[in-house]
């Protein structure tokens, strides 16, 4: 298997084990740490506060119900929560899109709001923002469309009027550049890959 890059986060392991053992304080701790990210991402994807609250609830309850699905050896908890949040939000969007005509809007994400007092998240966000801003604009556009609008690479290709192969390669090269930039900025989960079998 592939271990999470840069080693396993002991705190994520502790939380996952405590959740498995039914420790409610651990869920409260995960919520307090990660709910701005989960709620904000759901809100960005759906544009609907009610839906974002519902999705945040589903995400944390799912973690509580089945903590063993989260493997701290494979990914960081924050990253895993973002993945689940996006999947839920994209499901919500797809249900909506079958009812309404939907045109993807190419928009930069609004700056994080209301988390100024969350020093850690605010400082991480500033570093990620810098890394994203430094991406070539073609790569940035493709990534932001896929990530925040939940588009497939085929939809990204149509939105940007580029061949599908180009969309795939911009996603890959753009994410590689982003990973390299964040690793250079000291994000240890993106340090050089380590393989184990």
């Amino acid at each position: 298997m592939t271990e999470v890059l840069g080693g396993v986060d002991d705190n994520d392991v502790r939380l996952r084990d405590a959740l498995t053992g039914g420790c409610e304080e651990a869920l409260a701790e995960v919520y307090d740490t990660h709910s701005p990210t989960v709620f904000g991402l759901a809100l960005r994807l759906t544009g609907d506060r009610g839906a974002a609250e519902d999705i945040a609830q589903e995400v944390f309850v799912e973690l509580w119900m089945r903590p063993e699905r989260y493997d701290p050896r494979r990914t960081r908890l924050r990253s895993w929560l973002c993945m689940i949040t996006r999947r839920r939000a994209i499901d919500w969007l797809r249900r909506r899109r079958t009812q309404e005509h939907y045109a993807p809007v190419l928009a930069e994400p609004a700056a994080a709001a209301g988390i100024e007092d969350d020093v850690l998240t605010a400082s991480l966000a500033a570093q990620v923002r810098t890394a994203v801003d430094e991406l070539p604009s073609q790569h940035r556009q493709a990534i932001l469309l896929a990530y925040y609008q939940g588009l497939t690479y085929q939809q990204v290709a149509r939105a940007l009027n580029i061949p599908e192969g180009t969309a795939k390669s911009r996603l890959r090269s753009g994410l590689r550049r982003l990973a390299d930039a964040l690793a250079a900025a000291g994000f240890d989960d993106l340090a050089v890959a380590k393989h184990t079998d």
């Binding site: 592939t2 309850v61 923002r129 390669s169 996603l171 993106l190």
Partner: protein, 369 residues
């Protein structure tokens, strides 16, 4: 390594769930066998999900209560009493898993304690845990898992989950213990045994890896000793060595307690119950300071320094007991596991040496191998 071509062009889209379903299946199948593509996929996804912090926004305050209530309704939080029994076991499971996760392939072949290799040790522990898991009706999902470590861990996690959700009444459910004679005892005792066995095997592995041993917290060691002492009079009878009378057992070092233990289950007093804490406080005790957990790494060599089975002083047996046995708590627990012999335990004996020896020799058979 897979023979399929590497689906490198899809890895970026795959990392952000932007592939078609058939492509997702292709990449997932490939990365299961290709560490190189798996590592890249993981790295790209980790990078992508940092985008999630850019849009962080504090949720309405009421959402916190709503989420915690919905969680509680979906899966009950454990009761504090359950947590007290579960946490020591969970801690040993996590510690053993961390050791296993760090093994190089060659280290899996190390002979460990009484097992030819680490895989056999883990398989043995899985079978022991399985007695309790089966009796609780924990689904045996893990049997299809080919990897011994994951099979053990999945079952341990399922067991932890089941107990956590069960509430205090579940702790009284009769389940099978591991041991020479088949025995059913309440789950609360079986959890102490699971903590005990998991710790002992983790220390077995540490010893094979030439790492220092790591005993559980003193209060948890005391729980292990109390669990075993309750079984001991019956075990002494089963070994054909039962007799009237009691042994006063003084367990020294942090967590140390005194016990009056019947030498037969037919004896009048309730066995295994601490009579009182030692007069010398556990941490201030000179014996505790000298022979407590801190000196445990010296292991068997200690037998050379402390005369074994030594009659201490000329005084007769202590009041109310035919013999007195004084031994550090952590070493008594290792004796119970069969990891140190009576000789190596450094136990000091006063009074009836034969009774004390029977007591210790039968205690040394209460392990889980």
């Amino acid at each position: 390594m897979t023979n399929d071509p590497h689906p490198e062009d899809l890895l970026g889209a795959y990392a952000v769930d932007a592939c078609a379903a058939t492509e997702v299946a292709t990449v997932a199948e490939h990365t299961a066998d290709c560490p190189q593509c798996a590592a890249e996929g993981t790295r790209l996804a980790e990078a992508a999900h940092w985008l999630g912090v850019l849009t962080a926004r504090r949720p309405p305050a009421a959402l916190r209560t709503r989420v915690l209530e919905a969680a509680r309704a979906a899966r009950p939080a454990r009761e504090p009493e359950v947590g007290r029994l579960l946490d020591p076991y969970a801690r040993q499971v996590a510690a053993f898993d961390r050791l296993l996760a760090g093994l190089e392939p060659g280290q899996w072949r190390l002979a460990t304690a009484k097992y030819d290799n680490v895989g056999e040790l883990v398989t043995h522990l899985t079978a022991s845990d399985g007695l309790v898991a089966d009796d609780l009706g924990v689904p045996a999902r893990s049997t299809s898992e080919p990897q011994v470590r994951r099979r053990w861990r999945a079952q341990a996690d399922a067991l932890l989950r089941e107990v956590a959700s069960g509430g205090p009444r579940l702790l009284e459910r009769q389940v099978r213990l591991v041991g020479k004679a088949p025995m059913r005892r309440p789950l609360r005792e079986a959890l102490v045994q699971r903590t005990f066995e998991t710790w002992i095997h983790a220390d077995d592995l540490r010893t094979s890896l030439r790492l220092p041993t790591e005993p559980p917290r003193p209060d948890q060691l005391a729980g292990i000793a109390g669990f075993a002492l309750a079984l001991l009079p019956g075990a002494i009878d089963a070994a054909g060595r039962g007799r009237a009378g009691q042994v006063r057992l003084v367990l020294t070092g942090p967590g140390g307690t005194e016990h009056l233990v019947e030498l037969s289950a037919l004896g009048p007093a309730a066995p295994g119950l601490p009579t009182h804490l030692p007069d010398h406080g556990p941490t201030e005790s000179p014996r505790g300071a000298k022979e407590g957990a801190a000196s445990e790494a010296s292991g068997p060599a200690l037998a050379e320094r402390v005369p074994v089975g030594r009659a201490v002083g000329d005084s007769g047996p202590p009041e109310g007991a035919v013999a007195e046995v004084v031994v550090p708590l952590v070493r008594f627990c290792r004796l119970l596991a069969g990891r140190v012999s009576v000789l190596e335990s450094g136990a000091e004996i006063r009074g009836d040496a034969g009774a004390a020896t029977d007591f210790l020799e039968v205690a040394a058979t209460l392990g889980c191998d």
